[in-house]
Protein backbone atom coordinates (compact mmCIF):
# COMPACT_ATOMS: atom_id res chain seq x y z
CA UNK A 1 0.00 0.00 0.00
CA UNK A 2 1.32 3.40 -0.89
CA UNK A 3 1.97 5.96 1.77
CA UNK A 4 -0.10 8.59 -0.01
CA UNK A 5 -2.98 7.58 -2.22
CA UNK A 6 -4.99 10.20 -4.07
CA UNK A 7 -7.94 8.97 -6.09
CA UNK A 8 -10.18 11.17 -8.26
CA UNK A 9 -9.66 13.88 -5.69
CA UNK A 10 -11.68 17.01 -6.29
CA UNK A 11 -12.35 20.26 -4.49
CA UNK A 12 -14.90 22.85 -5.45
CA UNK A 13 -15.09 26.23 -3.76
CA UNK A 14 -18.08 28.52 -3.68
CA UNK A 15 -16.80 31.96 -4.43
CA UNK A 16 -19.07 34.97 -3.92
CA UNK A 17 -19.58 36.90 -7.13
CA UNK A 18 -18.79 40.54 -6.53
CA UNK A 19 -20.39 43.19 -8.64
CA UNK A 20 -18.59 46.48 -8.95
CA UNK A 21 -19.76 49.81 -7.61
CA UNK A 22 -21.97 50.88 -4.77
CA UNK A 23 -25.07 49.13 -6.11
CA UNK A 24 -23.10 45.93 -6.39
CA UNK A 25 -21.92 46.24 -2.82
CA UNK A 26 -25.47 46.65 -1.55
CA UNK A 27 -26.69 43.70 -3.59
CA UNK A 28 -23.81 41.63 -2.34
CA UNK A 29 -24.87 42.31 1.21
CA UNK A 30 -28.44 41.15 0.88
CA UNK A 31 -28.37 38.40 -1.67
CA UNK A 32 -24.86 37.18 -2.38
CA UNK A 33 -24.40 35.18 -5.55
CA UNK A 34 -21.96 32.33 -5.60
CA UNK A 35 -20.13 30.68 -8.39
CA UNK A 36 -18.28 27.38 -8.38
CA UNK A 37 -14.55 27.41 -8.60
CA UNK A 38 -12.95 24.05 -9.23
CA UNK A 39 -9.64 24.20 -7.48
CA UNK A 40 -8.73 20.56 -7.83
CA UNK A 41 -10.22 18.25 -10.44
CA UNK A 42 -10.03 14.48 -10.18
CA UNK A 43 -6.43 14.21 -9.13
CA UNK A 44 -4.80 10.83 -9.19
CA UNK A 45 -1.39 9.92 -7.87
CA UNK A 46 0.43 7.69 -5.42
CA UNK A 47 3.52 8.24 -3.38
CA UNK A 48 5.55 5.35 -1.98
CA UNK A 49 7.50 5.26 1.23
CA UNK A 50 10.80 7.09 1.13
CA UNK A 51 10.06 9.09 -2.01
CA UNK A 52 10.82 12.76 -2.16
CA UNK A 53 8.31 14.18 -4.60
CA UNK A 54 8.26 17.66 -6.00
CA UNK A 55 4.79 19.12 -6.40
CA UNK A 56 4.84 22.11 -8.66
CA UNK A 57 2.48 24.37 -10.52
CA UNK A 58 1.78 28.03 -11.12
CA UNK A 59 -0.01 30.07 -8.46
CA UNK A 60 -3.63 29.07 -8.28
CA UNK A 61 -3.01 25.69 -9.90
CA UNK A 62 -4.34 23.87 -6.87
CA UNK A 63 -1.12 23.03 -5.01
CA UNK A 64 -1.99 24.41 -1.61
CA UNK A 65 -5.53 23.07 -1.88
CA UNK A 66 -4.11 19.60 -2.46
CA UNK A 67 -1.74 19.90 0.45
CA UNK A 68 -4.54 21.12 2.69
CA UNK A 69 -6.54 18.04 1.82
CA UNK A 70 -3.56 15.80 2.39
CA UNK A 71 -2.94 17.29 5.81
CA UNK A 72 -6.58 17.07 6.82
CA UNK A 73 -7.22 20.80 7.00
CA UNK A 74 -9.63 20.78 4.10
CA UNK A 75 -12.41 18.34 3.30
CA UNK A 76 -12.52 17.04 -0.29
CA UNK A 77 -15.59 17.63 -2.44
CA UNK A 78 -15.09 14.36 -4.25
CA UNK A 79 -12.76 11.41 -4.52
CA UNK A 80 -10.62 9.98 -1.78
CA UNK A 81 -7.31 10.70 -0.15
CA UNK A 82 -5.47 8.28 2.10
CA UNK A 83 -2.30 8.93 4.01
CA UNK A 84 -0.78 5.90 5.70
CA UNK A 85 -4.09 4.22 5.14
CA UNK A 86 -6.13 6.91 6.92
CA UNK A 87 -8.50 9.60 5.82
CA UNK A 88 -6.59 12.66 7.00
CA UNK A 89 -9.75 14.65 7.58
CA UNK A 90 -11.82 12.03 9.37
CA UNK A 91 -8.92 10.74 11.42
CA UNK A 92 -7.30 14.09 11.92
CA UNK A 93 -5.57 13.43 15.20
CA UNK A 94 -4.12 10.03 14.28
CA UNK A 95 -2.92 11.40 10.98
CA UNK A 96 -1.46 14.51 12.62
CA UNK A 97 0.73 12.38 14.88
CA UNK A 98 2.63 10.98 11.95
CA UNK A 99 3.07 14.04 9.79
CA UNK A 100 5.31 17.04 9.91
CA UNK A 101 4.53 20.28 8.13
CA UNK A 102 6.59 23.29 7.23
CA UNK A 103 4.64 26.28 5.94
CA UNK A 104 7.37 28.44 4.49
CA UNK A 105 5.62 31.72 5.16
CA UNK A 106 4.16 31.02 8.60
CA UNK A 107 6.04 29.74 11.56
CA UNK A 108 4.68 27.08 13.84
CA UNK A 109 6.98 28.14 16.64
CA UNK A 110 5.94 30.41 19.44
CA UNK A 111 7.04 33.95 18.77
CA UNK A 112 8.25 34.90 22.21
CA UNK A 113 9.59 31.60 23.41
CA UNK A 114 13.20 30.46 23.20
CA UNK A 115 13.60 27.78 20.56
CA UNK A 116 14.23 25.07 23.13
CA UNK A 117 10.97 25.95 24.89
CA UNK A 118 9.07 25.72 21.62
CA UNK A 119 10.63 22.35 20.94
CA UNK A 120 9.81 21.11 24.42
CA UNK A 121 6.22 22.12 23.96
CA UNK A 122 6.02 20.46 20.58
CA UNK A 123 7.57 17.29 21.92
CA UNK A 124 4.91 17.23 24.60
CA UNK A 125 2.12 17.87 22.10
CA UNK A 126 3.30 14.97 19.97
CA UNK A 127 3.91 12.77 22.98
CA UNK A 128 7.52 12.10 22.08
CA UNK A 129 9.13 9.84 24.69
CA UNK A 130 11.78 11.82 26.58
CA UNK A 131 14.66 9.57 25.55
CA UNK A 132 13.79 9.82 21.88
CA UNK A 133 13.30 13.54 22.18
CA UNK A 134 16.71 13.95 23.74
CA UNK A 135 18.41 11.97 20.98
CA UNK A 136 16.56 13.81 18.23
CA UNK A 137 17.36 17.14 19.81
CA UNK A 138 21.05 16.38 20.06
CA UNK A 139 21.10 15.18 16.52
CA UNK A 140 19.32 18.21 15.10
CA UNK A 141 21.41 20.58 17.15
CA UNK A 142 24.38 19.14 15.38
CA UNK A 143 23.09 18.79 11.85
CA UNK A 144 21.19 22.07 11.80
CA UNK A 145 23.74 23.89 13.92
CA UNK A 146 21.17 24.99 16.45
CA UNK A 147 23.59 25.21 19.35
CA UNK A 148 23.51 29.00 19.67
CA UNK A 149 19.89 29.27 18.68
CA UNK A 150 18.34 27.14 21.37
CA UNK A 151 17.98 30.04 23.76
CA UNK A 152 16.93 32.60 21.20
CA UNK A 153 13.26 33.48 20.77
CA UNK A 154 11.96 33.20 17.23
CA UNK A 155 11.25 36.91 16.96
CA UNK A 156 14.98 37.60 17.18
CA UNK A 157 16.04 35.14 14.52
CA UNK A 158 17.10 35.78 10.96
CA UNK A 159 15.20 34.11 8.15
CA UNK A 160 17.77 31.38 7.77
CA UNK A 161 17.82 30.66 11.47
CA UNK A 162 14.04 30.60 11.53
CA UNK A 163 13.91 28.04 8.77
CA UNK A 164 16.43 25.76 10.42
CA UNK A 165 14.45 25.98 13.63
CA UNK A 166 11.26 25.35 11.70
CA UNK A 167 12.66 22.16 10.24
CA UNK A 168 13.78 20.92 13.60
CA UNK A 169 10.31 21.60 14.97
CA UNK A 170 8.63 19.81 12.09
CA UNK A 171 10.76 16.71 12.34
CA UNK A 172 11.43 16.41 16.03
CA UNK A 173 8.75 13.77 16.45
CA UNK A 174 10.08 11.64 13.58
CA UNK A 175 7.03 11.87 11.35
CA UNK A 176 6.58 9.36 8.57
CA UNK A 177 5.29 11.90 6.09
CA UNK A 178 6.60 15.41 5.70
CA UNK A 179 5.03 18.29 3.76
CA UNK A 180 7.35 21.11 2.92
CA UNK A 181 5.78 24.26 1.54
CA UNK A 182 8.33 26.76 0.23
CA UNK A 183 11.04 25.77 2.73
CA UNK A 184 13.77 27.84 1.12
CA UNK A 185 11.84 30.97 0.25
CA UNK A 186 13.77 34.16 0.77
CA UNK A 187 16.96 32.41 1.81
CA UNK A 188 20.41 33.11 0.45
CA UNK A 189 22.23 30.45 -1.56
CA UNK A 190 24.44 29.19 1.22
CA UNK A 191 21.59 28.67 3.63
CA UNK A 192 19.55 27.09 0.86
CA UNK A 193 22.32 24.58 0.31
CA UNK A 194 22.44 23.68 3.96
CA UNK A 195 18.70 23.27 4.17
CA UNK A 196 18.65 21.09 1.08
CA UNK A 197 21.49 18.98 2.40
CA UNK A 198 19.68 18.55 5.65
CA UNK A 199 16.45 17.50 3.99
CA UNK A 200 18.25 15.06 1.76
CA UNK A 201 20.11 13.52 4.64
CA UNK A 202 17.43 13.52 7.25
CA UNK A 203 14.46 12.49 5.19
CA UNK A 204 16.37 10.29 2.86
CA UNK A 205 18.16 8.35 5.55
CA UNK A 206 15.12 7.90 7.75
CA UNK A 207 12.88 6.78 4.93
CA UNK A 208 10.50 9.67 5.37
CA UNK A 209 8.10 10.37 2.58
CA UNK A 210 8.34 13.97 1.49
CA UNK A 211 6.09 16.16 -0.61
CA UNK A 212 7.79 19.36 -1.55
CA UNK A 213 5.87 22.31 -2.97
CA UNK A 214 8.05 25.12 -4.10
CA UNK A 215 8.65 27.66 -6.82
CA UNK A 216 12.37 27.19 -6.45
CA UNK A 217 13.25 24.62 -9.04
CA UNK A 218 16.73 24.38 -7.65
CA UNK A 219 15.14 22.70 -4.64
CA UNK A 220 13.42 20.24 -6.92
CA UNK A 221 16.50 19.45 -8.89
CA UNK A 222 18.53 18.81 -5.79
CA UNK A 223 16.05 16.87 -3.76
CA UNK A 224 13.49 15.12 -5.91
CA UNK A 225 13.71 12.21 -8.24
CA UNK A 226 10.09 12.54 -9.17
CA UNK A 227 7.99 15.53 -9.93
CA UNK A 228 4.24 16.04 -10.22
CA UNK A 229 3.13 19.07 -12.16
CA UNK A 230 -0.34 20.39 -11.53
CA UNK A 231 -2.16 22.95 -13.62
CA UNK A 232 -5.77 24.08 -13.43
CA UNK A 233 -6.45 21.43 -10.83
CA UNK A 234 -5.21 18.55 -13.00
CA UNK A 235 -2.01 16.57 -12.98
CA UNK A 236 -0.32 17.34 -16.25
CA UNK A 237 2.85 15.45 -15.56
CA UNK A 238 3.89 12.79 -13.08
CA UNK A 239 7.24 11.13 -13.50
CA UNK A 240 11.02 11.25 -13.03
CA UNK A 241 12.82 14.52 -13.55
CA UNK A 242 15.24 12.91 -15.95
CA UNK A 243 12.44 12.07 -18.32
CA UNK A 244 11.24 15.64 -18.40
CA UNK A 245 14.68 16.87 -19.12
CA UNK A 246 15.19 14.38 -21.89
CA UNK A 247 11.74 14.83 -23.43
CA UNK A 248 11.45 18.53 -23.18
CA UNK A 249 14.98 19.59 -22.71
CA UNK A 250 15.67 19.28 -26.36
CA UNK A 251 17.18 22.68 -26.72
CA UNK A 252 20.79 23.46 -25.91
CA UNK A 253 22.67 26.68 -26.18
CA UNK A 254 26.24 27.34 -27.27
CA UNK A 255 27.74 30.72 -26.60
CA UNK A 256 30.73 31.63 -28.79
CA UNK A 257 33.31 34.28 -28.04
CA UNK A 258 34.54 35.43 -31.42
CA UNK A 259 37.69 37.20 -32.60
CA UNK A 260 36.01 38.70 -35.61
CA UNK A 261 32.95 40.83 -35.50
CA UNK A 262 29.73 38.85 -35.63
CA UNK A 263 28.16 38.31 -39.01
CA UNK A 264 25.22 36.36 -40.35
CA UNK A 265 25.93 32.64 -40.29
CA UNK A 266 24.75 29.62 -42.19
CA UNK A 267 23.51 27.20 -39.56
CA UNK A 268 22.53 23.49 -39.73
CA UNK A 269 18.90 22.55 -39.36
CA UNK A 270 17.22 23.11 -36.05
CA UNK A 271 19.69 25.81 -35.03
CA UNK A 272 19.00 29.49 -34.74
CA UNK A 273 20.91 32.54 -33.64
CA UNK A 274 19.68 33.93 -30.36
CA UNK A 275 22.17 36.69 -30.00
CA UNK A 276 24.76 38.35 -32.24
CA UNK A 277 26.74 41.09 -30.57
CA UNK A 278 30.18 42.59 -31.13
CA UNK A 279 32.20 39.60 -30.11
CA UNK A 280 29.54 37.22 -28.92
CA UNK A 281 27.25 34.82 -30.70
CA UNK A 282 24.66 32.67 -29.01
CA UNK A 283 23.15 29.75 -30.88
CA UNK A 284 20.24 27.63 -29.78
CA UNK A 285 19.78 24.27 -31.44
CA UNK A 286 17.41 21.36 -31.27
CA UNK A 287 19.41 18.46 -29.95
CA UNK A 288 17.22 15.96 -31.71
CA UNK A 289 17.91 17.48 -35.11
CA UNK A 290 21.56 18.49 -34.99
CA UNK A 291 24.38 17.57 -32.66
CA UNK A 292 26.48 20.02 -30.70
CA UNK A 293 29.56 19.24 -32.74
CA UNK A 294 27.66 19.85 -35.99
CA UNK A 295 26.65 23.27 -34.84
CA UNK A 296 30.03 24.12 -33.38
CA UNK A 297 32.00 23.10 -36.46
CA UNK A 298 29.57 24.92 -38.73
CA UNK A 299 30.08 28.10 -36.79
CA UNK A 300 33.81 27.73 -36.44
CA UNK A 301 34.15 27.23 -40.17
CA UNK A 302 32.61 30.61 -40.82
CA UNK A 303 34.01 32.75 -38.10
CA UNK A 304 37.09 32.72 -35.94
CA UNK A 305 36.17 31.58 -32.46
CA UNK A 306 38.18 32.27 -29.34
CA UNK A 307 36.16 30.28 -26.84
CA UNK A 308 32.77 28.68 -26.45
CA UNK A 309 30.54 27.16 -23.77
CA UNK A 310 27.68 24.73 -23.85
CA UNK A 311 24.73 24.98 -21.49
CA UNK A 312 22.32 22.31 -20.35
CA UNK A 313 18.59 22.83 -20.37
CA UNK A 314 17.34 24.60 -17.29
CA UNK A 315 14.53 22.92 -15.39
CA UNK A 316 12.90 26.31 -15.03
CA UNK A 317 12.79 26.78 -18.78
CA UNK A 318 11.43 23.31 -19.23
CA UNK A 319 8.72 23.83 -16.69
CA UNK A 320 7.90 27.14 -18.33
CA UNK A 321 7.49 25.32 -21.58
CA UNK A 322 5.27 22.75 -19.96
CA UNK A 323 3.09 25.46 -18.44
CA UNK A 324 2.86 26.96 -21.89
CA UNK A 325 1.51 23.75 -23.32
CA UNK A 326 4.54 21.88 -24.47
CA UNK A 327 2.87 18.72 -23.26
CA UNK A 328 -0.12 19.34 -25.47
CA UNK A 329 2.13 19.92 -28.41
CA UNK A 330 3.91 16.68 -27.66
CA UNK A 331 0.63 14.87 -27.82
CA UNK A 332 0.03 16.24 -31.30
Amino acid sequence: MSVIEVNELSKVFQVPKKEPGLVGAVKGLFRPRYEDKQAVNQLNFQVEAGEIVGYIGVNGAGKSTTIKMLTGILMPSGGTVRVLGRDPHRQRVENAREIGVVFGQRTQLWWDLALIESLNLIAKIYDVPPARYKTALEQFTETLELGDLLNVPVRNMSLGQKMRSELAAALIHQPKVVYLDEPTIGLDLIVKERIRDFIKMECGSKGMTVMLTTHDLGDIEELCQRVIIIDGGHVIYDGPIETIKKRFGKFREITFETVEKAKPLDLPEGAETLLAEERKVQIRFDRTVSTASQVASAVMNQIEVKDFSLSEPDLADIVKQIYNGALDMEAK
Partner: protein, 270 residues
Protein backbone atom coordinates in the same frame (compact mmCIF):
# COMPACT_ATOMS: atom_id res chain seq x y z
CA UNK B 1 -11.73 80.91 -5.94
CA UNK B 2 -14.31 78.94 -7.88
CA UNK B 3 -11.67 76.34 -8.58
CA UNK B 4 -10.91 75.74 -4.93
CA UNK B 5 -14.60 75.54 -4.18
CA UNK B 6 -15.07 73.02 -6.95
CA UNK B 7 -12.15 70.99 -5.77
CA UNK B 8 -13.37 71.05 -2.21
CA UNK B 9 -16.80 70.00 -3.33
CA UNK B 10 -15.55 67.02 -5.29
CA UNK B 11 -13.39 65.94 -2.40
CA UNK B 12 -16.26 66.22 0.01
CA UNK B 13 -18.67 64.38 -2.22
CA UNK B 14 -16.17 61.59 -2.71
CA UNK B 15 -15.77 61.39 1.03
CA UNK B 16 -19.51 61.51 1.48
CA UNK B 17 -20.01 58.62 -0.95
CA UNK B 18 -17.55 56.60 1.05
CA UNK B 19 -19.66 56.85 4.16
CA UNK B 20 -22.38 54.38 3.16
CA UNK B 21 -19.69 52.01 1.94
CA UNK B 22 -17.86 52.25 5.23
CA UNK B 23 -21.16 51.86 7.01
CA UNK B 24 -21.75 48.54 5.35
CA UNK B 25 -18.24 47.36 5.91
CA UNK B 26 -18.48 48.12 9.59
CA UNK B 27 -22.09 47.15 9.96
CA UNK B 28 -21.51 44.63 12.67
CA UNK B 29 -19.36 47.04 14.60
CA UNK B 30 -21.99 49.71 14.29
CA UNK B 31 -24.69 47.51 15.78
CA UNK B 32 -22.39 46.25 18.49
CA UNK B 33 -21.68 49.86 19.42
CA UNK B 34 -25.36 50.72 19.39
CA UNK B 35 -26.23 47.78 21.61
CA UNK B 36 -23.44 48.72 24.01
CA UNK B 37 -24.84 52.24 24.27
CA UNK B 38 -28.37 51.00 24.78
CA UNK B 39 -27.24 48.66 27.52
CA UNK B 40 -25.27 51.41 29.22
CA UNK B 41 -28.06 53.93 29.37
CA UNK B 42 -30.57 51.29 30.40
CA UNK B 43 -28.40 50.34 33.34
CA UNK B 44 -27.86 53.98 34.25
CA UNK B 45 -31.55 54.74 34.10
CA UNK B 46 -32.69 51.84 36.25
CA UNK B 47 -29.85 52.25 38.70
CA UNK B 48 -30.77 55.83 39.41
CA UNK B 49 -34.43 55.05 39.32
CA UNK B 50 -33.86 52.51 42.12
CA UNK B 51 -31.72 54.96 44.05
CA UNK B 52 -34.54 57.47 44.04
CA UNK B 53 -37.14 54.85 45.00
CA UNK B 54 -37.55 56.26 48.47
CA UNK B 55 -36.22 59.78 48.17
CA UNK B 56 -37.65 62.85 46.53
CA UNK B 57 -34.33 64.63 46.41
CA UNK B 58 -30.70 63.80 47.04
CA UNK B 59 -28.23 66.58 47.63
CA UNK B 60 -30.87 68.96 46.38
CA UNK B 61 -31.36 67.15 43.10
CA UNK B 62 -34.64 65.57 42.07
CA UNK B 63 -34.94 62.26 40.30
CA UNK B 64 -35.67 63.94 36.99
CA UNK B 65 -32.75 66.29 37.32
CA UNK B 66 -30.28 63.55 38.19
CA UNK B 67 -31.41 61.11 35.53
CA UNK B 68 -31.37 63.88 32.98
CA UNK B 69 -27.89 64.86 34.03
CA UNK B 70 -26.57 61.31 33.94
CA UNK B 71 -28.02 60.65 30.50
CA UNK B 72 -26.74 63.92 29.10
CA UNK B 73 -23.32 63.23 30.58
CA UNK B 74 -23.34 59.85 28.88
CA UNK B 75 -24.11 61.37 25.49
CA UNK B 76 -21.54 64.08 25.79
CA UNK B 77 -18.75 61.70 26.77
CA UNK B 78 -16.97 62.43 23.48
CA UNK B 79 -16.07 65.78 25.05
CA UNK B 80 -13.57 63.99 27.25
CA UNK B 81 -12.23 61.80 24.46
CA UNK B 82 -8.69 60.55 24.61
CA UNK B 83 -7.81 59.81 20.99
CA UNK B 84 -4.53 61.62 21.15
CA UNK B 85 -3.04 58.94 23.33
CA UNK B 86 -3.77 56.25 20.77
CA UNK B 87 -2.59 58.37 17.87
CA UNK B 88 0.66 59.30 19.50
CA UNK B 89 1.23 55.76 20.63
CA UNK B 90 0.57 54.19 17.30
CA UNK B 91 3.01 53.36 14.57
CA UNK B 92 2.04 56.56 12.89
CA UNK B 93 4.07 58.40 15.45
CA UNK B 94 7.16 58.74 13.29
CA UNK B 95 5.13 60.14 10.43
CA UNK B 96 3.43 62.53 12.80
CA UNK B 97 6.73 63.77 14.14
CA UNK B 98 8.10 64.38 10.70
CA UNK B 99 4.95 66.38 9.98
CA UNK B 100 5.59 68.42 13.04
CA UNK B 101 9.22 69.13 12.45
CA UNK B 102 8.99 69.91 8.76
CA UNK B 103 5.64 71.55 8.14
CA UNK B 104 5.07 75.22 8.71
CA UNK B 105 1.57 74.49 10.03
CA UNK B 106 1.32 74.38 13.80
CA UNK B 107 1.19 70.70 14.69
CA UNK B 108 -0.90 71.18 17.77
CA UNK B 109 -3.44 73.38 16.04
CA UNK B 110 -3.71 70.84 13.26
CA UNK B 111 -4.48 68.13 15.79
CA UNK B 112 -6.94 70.39 17.55
CA UNK B 113 -8.89 70.91 14.36
CA UNK B 114 -8.82 67.17 13.76
CA UNK B 115 -10.07 66.37 17.23
CA UNK B 116 -12.80 68.96 16.92
CA UNK B 117 -13.92 67.37 13.68
CA UNK B 118 -13.84 64.01 15.38
CA UNK B 119 -16.00 65.36 18.18
CA UNK B 120 -18.66 66.55 15.77
CA UNK B 121 -18.65 63.19 13.99
CA UNK B 122 -18.96 61.30 17.25
CA UNK B 123 -21.83 63.45 18.40
CA UNK B 124 -23.55 62.77 15.09
CA UNK B 125 -23.28 59.04 15.77
CA UNK B 126 -24.76 59.54 19.20
CA UNK B 127 -27.97 60.94 17.71
CA UNK B 128 -29.89 57.66 17.35
CA UNK B 129 -29.25 56.85 20.99
CA UNK B 130 -30.31 60.30 22.05
CA UNK B 131 -33.57 59.91 20.18
CA UNK B 132 -34.10 56.56 21.88
CA UNK B 133 -33.49 58.08 25.29
CA UNK B 134 -35.94 60.86 24.62
CA UNK B 135 -38.70 58.37 23.94
CA UNK B 136 -37.82 55.60 26.37
CA UNK B 137 -36.31 57.41 29.29
CA UNK B 138 -37.93 60.79 29.14
CA UNK B 139 -34.73 62.63 28.37
CA UNK B 140 -35.39 66.35 28.30
CA UNK B 141 -33.47 69.08 26.57
CA UNK B 142 -33.82 72.70 27.66
CA UNK B 143 -35.89 74.91 25.40
CA UNK B 144 -34.21 78.09 26.51
CA UNK B 145 -31.72 79.45 23.96
CA UNK B 146 -29.58 81.09 26.62
CA UNK B 147 -29.01 77.76 28.30
CA UNK B 148 -27.89 76.24 25.02
CA UNK B 149 -25.50 79.09 24.30
CA UNK B 150 -24.05 78.91 27.80
CA UNK B 151 -23.66 75.17 27.40
CA UNK B 152 -22.03 75.33 23.98
CA UNK B 153 -19.50 77.92 25.08
CA UNK B 154 -18.69 75.97 28.20
CA UNK B 155 -18.47 72.72 26.25
CA UNK B 156 -16.03 74.20 23.76
CA UNK B 157 -13.90 75.71 26.51
CA UNK B 158 -13.90 72.52 28.49
CA UNK B 159 -13.12 70.45 25.43
CA UNK B 160 -10.17 72.70 24.67
CA UNK B 161 -8.82 72.44 28.19
CA UNK B 162 -9.18 68.67 28.01
CA UNK B 163 -7.46 68.67 24.63
CA UNK B 164 -4.34 70.21 26.08
CA UNK B 165 -4.44 67.85 29.02
CA UNK B 166 -4.78 64.85 26.71
CA UNK B 167 -1.79 66.21 24.88
CA UNK B 168 0.26 65.99 28.04
CA UNK B 169 -0.93 62.43 28.68
CA UNK B 170 -0.28 61.49 25.09
CA UNK B 171 3.34 62.55 25.50
CA UNK B 172 3.71 59.75 28.02
CA UNK B 173 3.65 57.38 25.11
CA UNK B 174 7.05 58.66 24.11
CA UNK B 175 8.45 57.21 27.30
CA UNK B 176 6.85 53.80 27.36
CA UNK B 177 5.71 51.05 25.03
CA UNK B 178 2.72 50.16 27.17
CA UNK B 179 0.19 52.19 25.25
CA UNK B 180 -2.74 49.88 25.81
CA UNK B 181 -2.38 49.60 29.56
CA UNK B 182 -1.87 53.32 29.91
CA UNK B 183 -4.90 54.01 27.76
CA UNK B 184 -7.23 51.79 29.75
CA UNK B 185 -5.88 53.15 33.02
CA UNK B 186 -6.68 56.68 31.90
CA UNK B 187 -10.09 55.60 30.66
CA UNK B 188 -11.00 54.37 34.11
CA UNK B 189 -9.84 57.59 35.70
CA UNK B 190 -11.65 59.65 33.10
CA UNK B 191 -14.96 57.89 33.58
CA UNK B 192 -15.05 58.76 37.24
CA UNK B 193 -13.38 62.12 37.36
CA UNK B 194 -15.32 63.56 34.49
CA UNK B 195 -18.39 63.36 36.67
CA UNK B 196 -20.22 61.08 34.30
CA UNK B 197 -21.13 58.49 36.91
CA UNK B 198 -22.19 60.74 39.77
CA UNK B 199 -23.32 64.39 39.79
CA UNK B 200 -20.75 66.60 41.49
CA UNK B 201 -23.32 67.83 43.95
CA UNK B 202 -23.63 64.38 45.46
CA UNK B 203 -19.97 63.99 46.16
CA UNK B 204 -18.60 64.72 49.62
CA UNK B 205 -16.80 68.04 49.83
CA UNK B 206 -13.32 66.59 49.86
CA UNK B 207 -13.93 64.43 46.83
CA UNK B 208 -15.47 67.26 44.91
CA UNK B 209 -12.41 69.37 45.55
CA UNK B 210 -10.17 66.65 44.15
CA UNK B 211 -12.38 66.17 41.12
CA UNK B 212 -12.37 69.87 40.37
CA UNK B 213 -8.61 70.04 40.64
CA UNK B 214 -8.16 67.87 37.57
CA UNK B 215 -9.42 68.95 34.16
CA UNK B 216 -11.72 66.02 33.33
CA UNK B 217 -14.78 67.52 34.96
CA UNK B 218 -14.25 70.81 33.15
CA UNK B 219 -15.07 69.11 29.88
CA UNK B 220 -18.10 67.16 30.99
CA UNK B 221 -19.66 67.75 34.40
CA UNK B 222 -19.33 71.51 34.18
CA UNK B 223 -20.96 72.11 30.77
CA UNK B 224 -23.54 69.38 31.28
CA UNK B 225 -24.37 70.93 34.63
CA UNK B 226 -25.37 74.05 32.73
CA UNK B 227 -27.33 72.16 30.11
CA UNK B 228 -29.26 70.09 32.59
CA UNK B 229 -30.25 73.13 34.56
CA UNK B 230 -28.52 71.96 37.71
CA UNK B 231 -26.10 74.84 37.50
CA UNK B 232 -27.93 78.18 37.24
CA UNK B 233 -27.16 80.36 34.23
CA UNK B 234 -25.97 83.13 36.50
CA UNK B 235 -22.93 80.99 37.26
CA UNK B 236 -22.01 80.77 33.59
CA UNK B 237 -19.59 83.69 33.32
CA UNK B 238 -17.69 82.54 36.40
CA UNK B 239 -17.54 79.04 34.97
CA UNK B 240 -16.23 80.23 31.63
CA UNK B 241 -13.54 82.22 33.38
CA UNK B 242 -12.37 79.20 35.33
CA UNK B 243 -12.31 77.17 32.14
CA UNK B 244 -10.25 79.84 30.41
CA UNK B 245 -7.73 79.65 33.23
CA UNK B 246 -7.61 75.89 32.73
CA UNK B 247 -7.01 76.37 29.04
CA UNK B 248 -4.17 78.77 29.68
CA UNK B 249 -2.55 76.50 32.23
CA UNK B 250 -2.93 73.32 30.26
CA UNK B 251 -1.90 75.03 27.05
CA UNK B 252 1.41 76.10 28.51
CA UNK B 253 1.99 72.75 30.19
CA UNK B 254 1.25 70.83 27.02
CA UNK B 255 3.69 72.80 24.95
CA UNK B 256 6.37 72.41 27.59
CA UNK B 257 5.96 68.67 27.95
CA UNK B 258 5.77 68.22 24.19
CA UNK B 259 8.97 70.15 23.71
CA UNK B 260 10.84 67.81 26.02
CA UNK B 261 9.21 64.71 24.60
CA UNK B 262 10.10 65.60 21.03
CA UNK B 263 13.62 66.33 22.12
CA UNK B 264 13.81 62.86 23.54
CA UNK B 265 12.86 61.32 20.23
CA UNK B 266 15.05 63.40 18.02
CA UNK B 267 17.99 62.84 20.31
CA UNK B 268 17.41 59.20 21.10
CA UNK B 269 15.56 58.15 18.00
CA UNK B 270 12.26 57.12 19.65
Amino acid sequence: MIQTLNRRFSVYSALFAMIPKMFMAYQLWFWAGMVMNIISITILYFFWDAIYANSAAISGLTREQTINYILLAFFFMPLVGNDLLWEFGSNLREGLMIHHLLRPVNFQMMNYAQQLGGLVTRMAFQLPIIVLAVFLFDLKFPSDLNTWVAFLISALLGFTAMFFFSWVLACMTFYTTEIWGLGVLIEGITIFFSGSLVPLAMMPEWLRTIVLSVPFAQALAVPVGLLSGITPLSDAPRIWLIQLVWIAGMGVLSNLVFHFAVRKITVQGG
